[in-house]
Symmetry: C2
Subunit: 236 residues, 2 copies
C-alpha cells in the first residue's frame, strides 16, 4: 500500500443550488445561517464531505436533509477552489445543481433549517462566492433546458402546456409565442395526453400531460434548440 504523505489534505465542501418553480417564478431554496461563521446571513445549503462517503452520496445526503426528498434531479455544476473563498479555512466547494418539484418538499425540514424559497430576482446577498455559484447555475439551467427535457423536473407529474410555457418564459425571462411553443413541444413526442383537464384554472381548463418516461431517455436531446437565440450564453 502506498500513500501520498507530502500532499496536503483540504476540507471539501458541498453546496447545493436548489431550484423550484411556483407556476410563476423560478425559486431558490436558501438558508439563513444559524451557525458561525456568517451567522444570520443567507447562503446556499451545504455541508462537508465525510471521510467514508462518495461525493454524490454527500450531495444526496445534504439535499435529503433539507428537502426530505430522494431521487431528485441532481448533477455536478462546478468546483469553486479559490484559496481564500472561505475566510475561516481553505475549503474547496463542489457545487451541485438540483431541480425539485416545489410542492413535494418537506416544509418542516425546510423550516427547521431556517430555509426559504426565494424568487431568483429577489435573492438577497449571499455569503462567500455563493452569488457566483447561483449565476453559474442560472446559466446552466438556461443551457440545459435548451438542450434537454429537464424542465419537467420542476413541474408536477401532470402539467399543462401553458404551465410548461410559463416555466420556459421564466427560465429565459422572455415571452414565447404560444402557438409555436405548443407545436414544437408536441413534435418532440415526449408528452402523453392524460385525458384529464387542469382543475385549478379559473377559465378554460387546460389539457394535462405527463412525460413519456421511456422516450425521455431515448430522446434526451429532443429539446436541442429550445433556447431563444438572444439568450444563448455568451461564453462557457
Amino acid at each position: 500500500m502506498y500513500s501520498y504523505p507530502l500532499s496536503s489534505r483540504i476540507l471539501l465542501a458541498i453546496d447545493c443550488i436548489i431550484f423550484g418553480f411556483d407556476g410563476k417564478d423560478i425559486k431558490l431554496l436558501l438558508i439563513k445561517r444559524n451557525f458561525e461563521p456568517e451567522l444570520g446571513k443567507w447562503s446556499l445549503m451545504g455541508g462537508f464531505l465525510k471521510e467514508e462517503e462518495d461525493l454524490e452520496a454527500g450531495a444526496s445526503r445534504i439535499l435529503y436533509d433539507l428537502t426530505g426528498l430522494k431521487d431528485i434531479y441532481v448533477e455536478q455544476l462546478e468546483v469553486f477552489g479559490k484559496v481564500n473563498r472561505d475566510p475561516a479555512e481553505r475549503t474547496v466547494s463542489v457545487v451541485f445543481f438540483a431541480l425539485i418539484q416545489i410542492e413535494e418538499h418537506d416544509a418542516e425540514a425546510v423550516r427547521s433549517h431556517n430555509a426559504s424559497w426565494i424568487s431568483l430576482d429577489k435573492r438577497p446577498q449571499l455569503i462567500f462566492d455563493h452569488e457566483q455559484m447561483v449565476m453559474r447555475a442560472i446559466e446552466h439551467l438556461r443551457y440545459k433546458a435548451a438542450l434537454h427535457p429537464i424542465g419537467f423536473e420542476l413541474l408536477p407529474e401532470y402539467f399543462s402546456i401553458p404551465q410548461l410555457q410559463k416555466l420556459y418564459e421564466a427560465i429565459y425571462n422572455t415571452p414565447l409565442d404560444r402557438r409555436n411553443f405548443s407545436r414544437k413541444l408536441l413534435s418532440t413526442g415526449l408528452l402523453i395526453d392524460t385525458g384529464h383537464k387542469n382543475s385549478n384554472s379559473t377559465t378554460k381548463k387546460a389539457t394535462l400531460y405527463k412525460l413519456d418516461t421511456v422516450r425521455y431517455k431515448e430522446k434526451f436531446h429532443a429539446f436541442w434548440n429550445f433556447m431563444p437565440d438572444s439568450m444563448k450564453p455568451a461564453q462557457s
Copy 2:
C-alpha cells in the same frame, strides 16, 4: 476566526485530459507512470492541489509542467469522488479538460514525463477510474464542439476548411458533406480568409483561414448545431 474542526480533510487530486489533433486522429496525451502506485501503467497526467494554490492554478501548473504551454484552453470537466477510487488513500479528483495545438507542445517536457500522444481509439487500459474520465471527456468534446467554436483550439493558427472538416469528422467519427459543411461554417462569419494557401497539400492547395477572435467572443454560440443528430449525446 472560525474553523471547522470536526470535518475531515481529504486529498484533492487534479487530473488532466489533454486532447490534440494530428490532422487525422484525435490524440490523448497520456503518461506511463514512473512512480508508485501503479508504476509502469498508463494514466492521465495529474497531481495534487497545493495548500496555497487556487484550483485553476493547480490545473495550469500541471498542464504547463507537461506541455510547456500557458494560455491553453482549459475547463473543469467533472469531479470523481468515489470513496475507493484510489486504492492508496481516499482521493477526490477534479478532472480538467484541455485542448492544445499538438505542434506547439514541448516535446522534451513530454519525454521527461514519460508521456506520449496516443490516438483515442488506440488508448491503453488506464489506472483507477481514468477510463471513465476519458469517456466523459469525449462526450464533452462532442457536446461542446457542436455548440461552440472550440475546435479551433486543436488546430494551428492558420487552417483550411478541409482541415477543420477532418477534425469534426474525427470528433463525431462520421463523414460529413464537404459542401454543406463549408457553407454552414462560412455562414458563421467567424473565419477570416488570410489570402494564403496551404503549402503541405499534395494536390490542390486549400485556402487558409484564421479565426476572427473578436467575433469568436461575440458569437460563441455560433456553432449551435454542428453535431450530427445521430451523435447527440444520450444523457447528461
